[in-house]
Symmetry: C2
Subunit: 300 residues, 2 copies
């Protein structure tokens, strides 16, 4: 970054020959976060969802712009927000390069930049029939927290606190994304639920998939819930911010090594098929019925 905050524009100089990866997300109160969230958690999450997109491209974070609408000047909020934001930014070497602040209903727009060598970006379009389907971390905890907030599930005390952290402070899988360059044939980050986001890979790659429901990685808290709720959270949750990716079976050992090197668990959870569409099967390979729609920001 040659010139940062304080002029009309920031000036960036990507390393010679590198591609610049760009992603932008807008978070609004009541939709992406609750008004009661701690400001430092909000600062963390606002950047995390963007770094997660960079991770899904295999891009190395460089910097970001922040545009913020606030109902009023609130120094305490801003200090907390900044602490969460910069802690994550510093952990990933991402620099704040510019911004805009205005009055309005609380909204946060971050645009993040990263770099990736030519031809090495992880795209949604590279999945091939026969590829393995992998996912990082565990799925569904954020959706489970949402159900608890909605009152449809009861959970008390420290178990809930830990779960809530998964929703409020997701860890972007940046190191894993970098380690998967040259290994993964396609990747996407899970923001709208596995079923919805997998469809993006299938559509862009012109393939289908079979997902092994019982193989999907889940926390002990989610594993203790009724089967129907588990399915909803695993397949149609949102806010997971894990990486869903595909790789040729010959890469299994390399993928596991990349995950270990990145300190992130990965789980083989299905296969890419030539047959279009998306099938969920149990561990007897019998089809599981259900409505696996992604989280729709205009519904519910």
């Amino acid at each position: 970054v040659e010139l940062g905050v304080g002029d009309d524009c920031a000036l960036l100089t990507p390393a010679a020959g590198q591609r610049l990866a760009v992603t932008s997300d807008l978070l609004v109160e009541g939709r992406h976060f609750l008004s009661t969230v701690a400001p430092h958690k909000l600062g963390h999450k606002a950047l995390a969802v963007n770094l997660s997109d960079l991770a899904a491209c295999g891009a190395e974070p460089l910097g970001f712009t922040l545009a913020l609408a606030l109902p009023r000047v609130d120094d305490e909020f801003l200090a907390g927000f900044a602490s969460g934001l910069f802690a994550l930014a510093d952990a990933h070497g991402a620099e704040l390069v510019g911004g805009d602040t205005t009055a309005g209903p609380l909204a946060i727009c971050i645009t993040a930049f990263g770099q990736v060598p030519p031809g090495q970006a992880l795209l949604r379009s590279g999945a091939r029939a026969g590829d393995d389907l992998w996912v990082s971390g565990t799925l569904g905890d954020a959706r489970l927290v949402l159900e608890i907030f909605r009152g449809s599930v009861a959970m008390a005390g420290s178990g809930f606190d830990a779960l809530r952290l998964a929703m409020e402070m997701p860890q972007p899988r940046v190191a894993l994304g970098l380690a998967l360059r040259g290994l993964a044939s396609s990747a996407i980050d899970l923001s709208d639920g596995l079923a919805g986001d997998l469809r993006h890979i299938l559509a862009r790659s012109g393939v289908g998939a079979t997902v092994h429901l019982d193989a999907l990685p889940r926390s002990a808290a989610l594993a203790a819930q009724p089967a129907a709720l588990q399915q909803t959270c695993l397949l149609a949750g949102g806010d997971d911010y894990e990486l869903l990716f595909t790789a040729a079976p010959a890469q299994q050992a390399a993928v596991r090594a990349a995950a270990q090197h990145s300190g992130v668990q990965v789980t083989l959870c299905g296969q890419i098929d030539a047959e279009p569409g998306f099938r969920v099967v149990d561990n007897q390979r019998q089809p599981v019925e259900g409505r696996w729609q992604g989280f729709d920001h205009f519904a519910s």
Copy 2:
């Protein structure tokens, strides 16, 4: 643009050796636009304010990301918004590279990218004592429209319609910004009023300025208003989206030629002084008293 809308990130390839200029603005209803604004005008303005920042850097537009919060899916709104947005984008060769849509109170966040050769960006920090102070177009019409909306000024019919267009569809001075590379010693775009934005140049450059009130360019509609209102609109208006810039006196002919080539009027309206601070004088060089504060998004 190597890869645009539809993957986790867009991939950009700046021309070899060019710097990438980045700017981001968040527009919220009731603050930056009225709920009654025509969608195509809103689409235009949301991009225009960002292209204006690129212009103030002397950067050539490349592309932009759009993040949109909408209260509900509204095809008519979106069609109108897109028509205004893309008409302006196409006129300036800027490509939509990525985006995000969510439910929420109407808010628009655009991050725009441009390129500029190393060392040629127009910065706020280059003004020197003795430089001329220039401004493009005319000032104050957008503030006059605001006063008419507020009911403090009466104006009827077609005169108001023309004036309103100045506020709702500002024309970013991209061609002028490019033509001023190597000529202007500093530049800023006027979004918060001349007095407030000039202060940014003065602070970054470590200089002062004298502004000739009577020289400030104004429309016939504004010139017909009482003197006090004219002063407010000219100096403390907002939403002008003209370029305020400085250049050495030896460059006067070159600046006028650049403006003519760009099809934009420019006016010599003051000088940069070694003495800090900011003085407004009349055409007898007598000080004019007044409160010249920039538009504060958290006030009024």
